[in-house]
C-alpha cells in the first residue's frame, strides 16, 4: 500500500521541481550501482591487508562460499519485490536436501531410510521445495494470511521436521548425485559458482526485461493498480513463491554437496544475512523497489568483507559482531546515497 505512508511525512517532501528531474533519474539508476564503490574500496583494503586477497583462488573461494546463500538472496529478492516476504526459505534450504538424504541414504548410516535409489535425490529436493512454496502460497495468496506470520510459522515447522527426521543428527554418505553440484568443476570453476552467476544473470533479465518480472514490481507497488492493468496477481504470486522455494532447495542441495553432508541446522539463521544483503543492495521491504543486480552486489559485499576480516586474522568469534555492525553501517550509507528513508 503505497498510500499508507503517514500523511505528514509524505506531505513534508516538496514535489520535485522540473529542474531536479534529470538529477533524480540519474540517481535512481545510480542506486543500482551504489555498492560498486564500496566493493572497490573493500577490494583495495583487502589487497593491502593481505596480498592473497585478489588472487584467483581467493576470489573463487569467496564466490563459492557465497554461492549457496546467494540463491536464497535471489529467491528472497523476487518475493520482496512483490511486497511479501518468505522467512521460511532458510528452513527449506535445510529440509529439502534433508528429506532427499533421509530417503536415499542407506540404512545403518545415521537416520537414513534407504527407501529410494540415489538418483532420486535431486528431483526429491526440488519437489520438496516446490511443495513448501505451494503451501506458503496457499496460506498467503489463497487464504490471504499475513506473509510474515505464515512464513515465520513455516520456518519453525520445517526446521522441526528436519530435526525430527534426522533425529537431530547429520546425514553422511550422501548419494553421488547429491554431491555433484557442490564438488564438480566446469572449466576449472566450481559448478555452484556457475549456477549462482547464471541464475543471477537470469534474474536480472527476468526482473528487468520480462512482463512477468515487471508484474512483480507492479504488485509490490500497488496490487489494485496491477489488477486493473490486467495482471493476474494471484497467479504471479503463486509462481513467485513456489519458484523461490525451489531455488532455496537448490541452494541447499549445493551446500550439502560441498559439505558432503546435511546437518540438522543447515541454513539456521541464514535469513538474517539474506535480508541484510537484499536491503543493502537496495531492495525495499515494502515492495516495488530494488533490482537483482543490487541484491547480488549486496551479498557480494558482505562476503568480501567477511573474507577480508578472516584474512586480517580477526578471530572467528568476533566476526559475527562485526558482521552486524557492517550491516548497520551499510544501511546508513545506502540511506545517505539513496537520499530517501530506508523502508
Amino acid at each position: 500500500m503505497p498510500e499508507t505512508k503517514t500523511a505528514l511525512a509524505a506531505a513534508a517532501a516538496p514535489p520535485a521541481g522540473q529542474a531536479r528531474r534529470g538529477g533524480r533519474i540519474r540517481l535512481a539508476r545510480l542506486r543500482d550501482l551504489a555498492l560498486i564503490p564500496a566493493i572497490v574500496v573493500i577490494a583495495i583494503v583487502g589487497q593491502i591487508v593481505n596480498p592473497i586477497f585478489l588472487q584467483g583462488d581467493n576470489l573463487i573461494n569467496i564466490l563459492q562460499t557465497m554461492s549457496e546463500i546467494s540463491l536464497l538472496v535471489l529467491a528472497q529478492t523476487v518475493i520482496l519485490v512483490t511486497g511479501k516476504m518468505d522467512l521460511s526459505l532458510e528452513s527449506t534450504f535445510g529440509l529439502a536436501p534433508g528429506v532427499a538424504a533421509w530417503l536415499t541414504v542407506a540404512v545403518g548410516s545415521g537416520a537414513g531410510l534407504g527407501l529410494l535409489d540415489g538418483v532420486w535425490s535431486v528431483p526429491i529436493t526440488l519437489a520438496v521445495g516446490a511443495v513448501i512454496g505451494a503451501l506458503n502460497a496457499l496460506f498467503i495468496v489463497r487464504f490471504g494470511l499475513n506473509g510474515f506470520i505464515v512464513t515465520l510459522g513455516m520456518l519453525i515447522v520445517l526446521r522441526g521436521l528436519l530435526t525430527g527426521i534426522s533425529g537431530g543428527q547429520t546425514f553422511f554418505n550422501l548419494p553421488e548425485s547429491m554431491l555433484y553440484l557442490g564438488t564438480a568443476l566446469w572449466f576449472g570453476v566450481p559448478v555452484s559458482i556457475w549456477i549462482s552467476l547464471i541464475l543471477f544473470a537470469g534474474g536480472i533479465v527476468l526482473l528487468g526485461y520480462t512482463r512477468f518480472g515487471r508484474a512483480l514490481y507492479a504488485i509490490g507497488g500497488n496490487v489494485d493498480a496491477a489488477k486493473a492493468a490486467g495482471i493476474r496477481t494471484d497467479r504471479v504470486l503463486w509462481i513467485a513463491l513456489v519458484s523461490a522455494s525451489v531455488i532455496a532447495a537448490l541452494g541447499g542441495l549445493m551446500l550439502s554437496g560441498r559439505l558432503a553432508s546435511v546437518a540438522a541446522a543447515q541454513g539456521d539463521g541464514a535469513i538474517f544475512t539474506v535480508f541484510a544483503a537484499a536491503v543493502i543492495g537496495g531492495v525495499s521491504l515494502n515492495g516495488g523497489k530494488g533490482t537483482m543486480f543490487g541484491a547480488f552486489t549486496g551479498i557480494l559485499l558482505l562476503y568480501m568483507i567477511q573474507n577480508v576480516l578472516t584474512l586480517a586474522g580477526v578471530p572467528a568469534q568476533w566476526i559475527q559482531a562485526l558482521n552486524g555492525a557492517i550491516i548497520l553501517v551499510a544501511l546508513v550509507l545506502s540511506r545517505l546515497t539513496g537520499g530517501k528513508a530506508q523502508e
Binding site: T4, P14, R24, Y209, A218, A225, A228, G230, I231, K289
Partner: protein
C-alpha cells in the same frame, strides 16, 4: 419512489443514432460491504455510441458499479453482460480489458515505476526474444503524452508527477487501449478548466468515431455539455435513466437528493470589520518561477479566495502558507507568529488548519479509522499524559460525522472503505477539528457532490463567523462564491483583486490573464 424501475429503460430519442444490443449492461446488481449496502438491485444499460452519465451523491454506489463493470469485483447478486454476452470470468483479466477501459476514481498509478512503464504496464513492447524493448516503450510513451501536452520526462518515477499530470497519465492510458467502451470515474475532479477542455475535445473526437462512454462527475454542467443520457443512483438504488435533454438541472438535483429542494441561496454573512486582527500576513513570497512577490493579508473572520488556473501558482502559495513547501524568499506570519518555513507541524502549532490538494497522499491514513483520522490533529484534547481516551475520540468523531453528513456505518470504519467524496469530507473534518485561527483549503470540494458541497461551504462560513480567517485556493467558481474578496493569480503573480459580487465572466477572464477593466 415512483421513478424507480428495476431494469432501466433503454434511452430513446436524443443523442447520436444508436442501435443494436447494449454495449454493456448490468442488471439487478447487489453488493454489500459488511453492513453497508453499496448497491441494492441496481442496474444500468449503456447503448453503443452514447455518452452515458452516471450521477448520484457521495456514497451512492457509482464507483462500486464501476468496479463491477470492469471486473475488479464480483457482485453478490446480479449479472453483467457485454454486447449481449455474459461477462468473462473475473480471472480472465485480458478478456475484460478487451471490452472496457477505465479511469478509476482512485489512482491506479504505481509510484515506484516510471511514467512510461505506468502507461504501458503489462502491455510492454517486446522484441524478438520476447524481452521488453525499453527504448521503444519510452518513445511511444513520450509520443502519447505529447499528444496530451503533458510535459514530463517519461523516465522519471510516477511518484514525481503532480496530481494533474497523474490524472492525465491515467486518462491517456485508458484512451490508448483502443477500447470501444470507456469508463471515466470523476476524471475532471482534479483538473482545471483548460485541462477539462482538452479532455472534452478528445472525448468528442472519440464520440465521433463511435466510442461509447460512461462518465461520472459531480460537475453537473459537464453532464449537460458532453453526455446524451443520464442515470441517477441514490442510496444504492437506480432512480432513473433519461436523455439529458429531457431532464432540467433542478430535476436532476432533486432526483439525486431525493427531495425537491433547490440549491440554497448564499447566507447573509457580513464581511469582517476592518479592524479585525490579521491572522495571515504574507509578504514578498517568491519561489523560483512558480510564484513571485506574492503579498496579501487575511483578517479574522474573512474568507479570501485565491483564484487562478492550473499553473498560476495559487496551489503552491497556499501550500507554502501551511508549510507543505518552503519559499525562496518572503515571510508568512500566522496569527502574529512566524512558523518555521516548510514545516507542517510548525504551521499547525501556529494555528493553521488545511485541506491539501491530494487527499490520497497528504490527506489521510487509509487503513486507520475515520475517528482516528478525523482527530489526528487534536490528540492533545482526547486525554491526558499522552493517553488517548477512545470514548472521547469516538464521541468527537460521531459529532463530525453528523456535522458533515459523512455516509458511514460508524466512526470505526477505515477511511479506505469510504466513497471518494466522503473521504474528502473526513479530510475537511480534520481541518475544522482544531478550531484553527487560519484555515487554508485547496480545491476543498474535489469529488464532493453538489448537495454536500453546499453543506461543506456552509460549514466554512460558520467557521469564519466564529472568527477564523479562511483562504480558499480553487478555480471552481462555486467554491469561490462565498469569498469576501478574490485574489486572482496568473503566471505566479497576483494580478487582480475582486470584491464580492462579481460576475462569473470577470473572474474567468482574470484567471486567463485578460484584464477586462484595463
Amino acid at each position: 419512489m415512483a421513478a424507480h424501475g428495476d431494469a432501466p429503460a433503454a434511452a430513446t430519442g436524443a443523442g447520436p443514432a444508436r442501435s443494436g444490443r447494449p454495449v454493456a449492461e448490468a442488471a439487478h446488481i447487489t453488493k454489500r460491504y459488511g453492513e453497508t449496502v453499496a448497491l441494492d438491485d441496481a442496474g444500468i444499460t449503456i447503448m453503443p455510441g452514447e455518452t452515458h452519465a452516471l450521477v448520484g451523491r457521495n456514497g451512492a454506489g457509482k464507483s462500486t458499479l464501476v468496479s463491477i463493470l470492469t471486473g475488479l469485483q464480483a457482485p453478490d447478486r446480479g449479472e453483467v453482460r457485454f454486447g449481449g454476452e455474459p461477462a468473462p470470468r473475473l480471472a480472465d483479466r485480458d478478456a475484460w480489458r478487451a471490452r472496457v477501459a477505465c479511469v478509476y476514481q482512485k489512482s491506479t498509478i504505481i509510484p515506484e515505476l516510471t511514467v512510461a512503464e505506468n502507461l504501458y504496464l503489462h502491455r510492454h513492447d517486446l522484441n524478438r526474444a520476447r524481452l521488453i524493448n525499453w527504448g521503444r516503450l519510452r518513445r511511444k510513451a513520450a509520443e502519447l503524452l505529447e499528444t496530451w501536452s503533458v510535459d514530463v520526462d517519461v523516465r522519471s518515477p510516477a511518484a514525481d508527477l503532480s496530481v494533474e499530470q497523474r490524472q492525465f497519465v491515467e486518462i491517456a492510458r485508458a484512451l490508448s487501449f483502443g477500447a470501444r467502451f470507456i469508463i471515466l470515474d470523476e476524471p475532471t475532479a482534479q483538473l482545471d478548466g483548460a485541462a477539462i477542455n482538452r479532455l472534452f475535445d478528445r472525448i468528442r473526437s472519440l464520440q465521433e468515431q463511435g466510442v461509447t462512454f460512461l462518465f461520472i462527475s459531480h460537475h453537473l454542467q459537464e453532464i449537460y455539455e458532453i453526455c446524451d443520457t443520464v442515470t441517477v443512483f441514490r442510496d444504492a438504488r437506480h432512480i432513473l435513466t433519461r436523455p439529458v435533454a429531457e431532464l432540467p438541472r433542478a430535476d436532476l438535483v432533486a432526483a439525486m437528493a431525493g427531495e425537491a429542494t433547490g440549491l440554497q441561496e448564499p447566507s447573509g454573512r457580513k464581511p469582517p470589520a476592518a479592524e479585525a486582527p490579521v491572522v495571515l500576513d504574507v509578504r514578498g513570497l517568491t519561489s523560483g518561477d512558480t510564484y513571485r512577490d506574492v503579498a496579501f493579508q487575511v483578517r479574522s473572520g474573512e474568507i479570501v479566495g485565491l483564484a487562478g488556473a492550473g499553473g498560476s501558482g495559487k496551489t503552491e502559495v497556499a501550500e507554502t502558507v501551511v508549510g507543505l513547501r518552503a519559499a525562496d524568499a518572503g515571510t508568512v506570519e500566522v496569527a502574529g507568529r512566524r512558523p518555521k518555513p516548510g514545516s507542517v507541524p510548525a504551521a499547525l502549532a501556529a494555528g493553521a488548519g488545511f485541506v491539501p490538494r491530494d487527499r490520497h497522499h497528504q490527506g489521510f491514513v487509509p487503513m486507520m479509522s475515520i475517528a482516528d483520522n478525523a482527530t489526528m490533529t487534536i490528540q492533545d484534547r482526547l486525554g491526558s499524559a499522552g493517553f488517548i481516551s477512545n470514548r472521547r475520540r469516538d464521541e468527537l468523531a460521531e459529532e463530525m460525522i453528523g456535522n458533515l453528513a459523512i455516509k458511514t456505518p460508524g466512526p470505526e470504519l477505515p477511511v479506505m472503505g469510504l466513497s471518494g467524496g466522503n473521504q474528502q469530507k473526513v479530510v475537511m473534518a480534520r481541518a475544522l477539528a482544531n478550531d484553527p485561527k487560519l484555515l487554508v483549503l485547496i480545491t476543498p470540494t474535489a469529488g464532493v457532490d453538489v448537495k454536500s458541497k453546499e453543506f461543506l461551504l456552509g460549514k466554512v462560513e460558520e467557521v469564519a463567523e466564529q472568527g477564523t480567517g479562511v483562504v480558499i485556493a480553487s478555480d471552481e467558481l462555486d467554491d469561490l462564491r462565498l469569498c469576501d474578496r478574490l485574489l486572482v493569480m496568473f503566471q505566479g503573480r497576483i494580478v487582480a483583486e475582486i470584491p464580492a459580487g462579481w460576475h462569473d465572466h470577470e473572474v474567468v477572464a482574470a484567471m486567463e490573464g485578460v484584464n477586462l477593466n484595463a
